[in-house]
Amino acid sequence: MGAVDWLIIGLYLAFVLAIGVIAARRSASGADFFLAGRSIPAWVAGLAFISANLGATEVIGMGASGAKYGIATAHFYWIGAIPAMVFIGVFMMPFYYGSKARSVPEYLRMRFDEKTRALNAITFAIITVISSGVSMYALAKLIQALHVFDAPFAAVGLPTAWIFHASVLASAAVVLAYIYMGGLRGAIYNEVLQFFLIVAGFAPLVWIGLRIVGGWHGLATSLGPSYVHAWAGMGSPSTNRLGVGVFGLVMGLGFVLSFGYWCTDFLVVQRAMAADSMAAARRTPLIAAGVKTFVPFLVILPGLIAMALTAAPAVTPPTAGAAHQTAAVIPLKLDSTTGKPMLNASGKPELDYDLATPNLLLRDLPTGLLGVGLTALLASFMSGMAGNVTAFNTVFTYDIYQAYIRRRAEDRHYLHVGRLMTAVGVVASIAAAYLAAQFNNIMDLIQLLFAFVNAPVFATFLLGMFWKRATGHGAFTGLVAGTLAAALHHGLTLPAGEAAGVKGGWISLVHAYPSEMAQNFWTAIWAWSVCFAVTIAVSLATRPRPQDELAGLVYSLTPRVEDAAARWWTRPVTLGVVVLAVTLALNIIFR
């Protein structure tokens, strides 16, 4: 790294903190701090919606999955995100925004009851802290891998292992500073800035990488057809790299996990709820979906390129930068205790896929652009962390503290609690970062968490919004049963070649899946199905709420939002159809 790279990173940090200071000028009330005063235009909310999700799981995790599974990883976008984002924009936002709920758990209280809200709020608070910790872990691991701090640490006599600790603390301090000052508004403004930086940093990496490997044709030649076709071999789990069949993919990822995350996770929904009007709130996820369609080319392709260069390390970049190496881009995964290469179930050395994208950056970007690329990585980590922390402070303050600890205090008091919870959330995230260090692939951990918590939640929302007969007792019992079903399924199954324990099979081994991803998808399917069935059964056995109390909360009892005043091409349905058509076209092109 050269001086100019450090200067670019320093400039970025200065702008991030300055935006926090500017946003702080309008964070004098709870509504400002937690909801950005519901004053954000659609395009800003839309880019924040996507950027809050564009954290470590996208940049490092999707690059790693691209290297491991190939272009089929794009299913996480084209099947596992876009349809759900269109659905929330067209059908669900009128309930979230129109109900004036301040959070997703608060909507559950309005629609169902207090206990359902409490269960959702507590599980959500835990999952956001863990997700934030995963972002921190990924950042710290990246900085360790870059070895940029090795010399300064050695100079002052500190072991290089402390670089991980210093990285976690430094990233946490920056995010804490700008959220503490500017609240949700500070986070959203910075997320937009971070989105553009991520594009600016990764687009040239893809461009250069493709030129080095000989374009898409070169990728296909060096990696083989299984890497460059998204739908090839999907008829059976044993004939594709994901180890998942079509039903598991479409139902598990495309319906349960995807809709469970994009339609109910307050981390992303909060951005749309901060929009300045109902029309803007509905357009927010649709704008995000339009952009999200093309994100795979930024974050997955670097993984494929890194894999191609690892499979054929003799391909050297025609550059003269000092940092460039001719070794394989993806290194072997080493056991942290013995330092020896780790072996997979078939006895072959495992690759450290999480380093695919960072190592490609170091290898192929010259000084100057390397600073932009590293800034893009920093930006993605911070946007991911900030999204989780802002969602955590809001849910804790409104849905736990105000609901159960101190009900009737002044707005100023809750503002102080929100700021305090920002600090608490960051500290808890640091603890979670060390937990994440125990797992092999970040995406696997995230998928497991979603399967346990998010999958049953979507069944609750689906029934709550579209079936007026659903009751609070039904929703609560369904959620508990769904989560227990997820745990039971996980405890009875195991991915092939894995030992019983954290990967599953901790009760008994009833079924072995071809891959961890297949196990996660099916855990989600079981959780959703059990929640859906139990909610219906218990609702039918309990007394429903009067219909007049459900107006604005249930589809059949809510007047349709009138789109006639808007120009036809700005209406949510039109935007949704266009985005789905583009997504379909991409699936056909990369089939």
Binding site: Y12, Y189, R211, A320, D364, P366, G368, V372
Partner: protein, 65 residues
């Protein structure tokens, strides 16, 4: 909205774009990747994008007045 985001976004991109362009000019062959003077190309692109964002923000501010 409290702040027209195009202004800080544009200023940051102009600043970074100028730095990357300057590095491309100074480093010469060391800033070439895959046969492309990538620092120069991308730096100029970032600076142009940033300048456009700043210009749009200033025009919007003048219109509001």
């Amino acid at each position: 909205m409290l702040l027209d985001l195009r202004l800080p976004l544009g200023l940051l991109f102009v600043a970074i774009g100028v730095l990357v362009t300057a590095e491309g000019l100074i480093a010469g062959p060391a800033a070439v990747a895959a046969g492309l003077p990538i620092d120069l190309i991308w730096g100029l692109g970032m600076a142009a994008f940033g300048a456009a964002a700043v210009a749009l923000a200033l025009v919007a501010r003048r219109t509001l007045r």
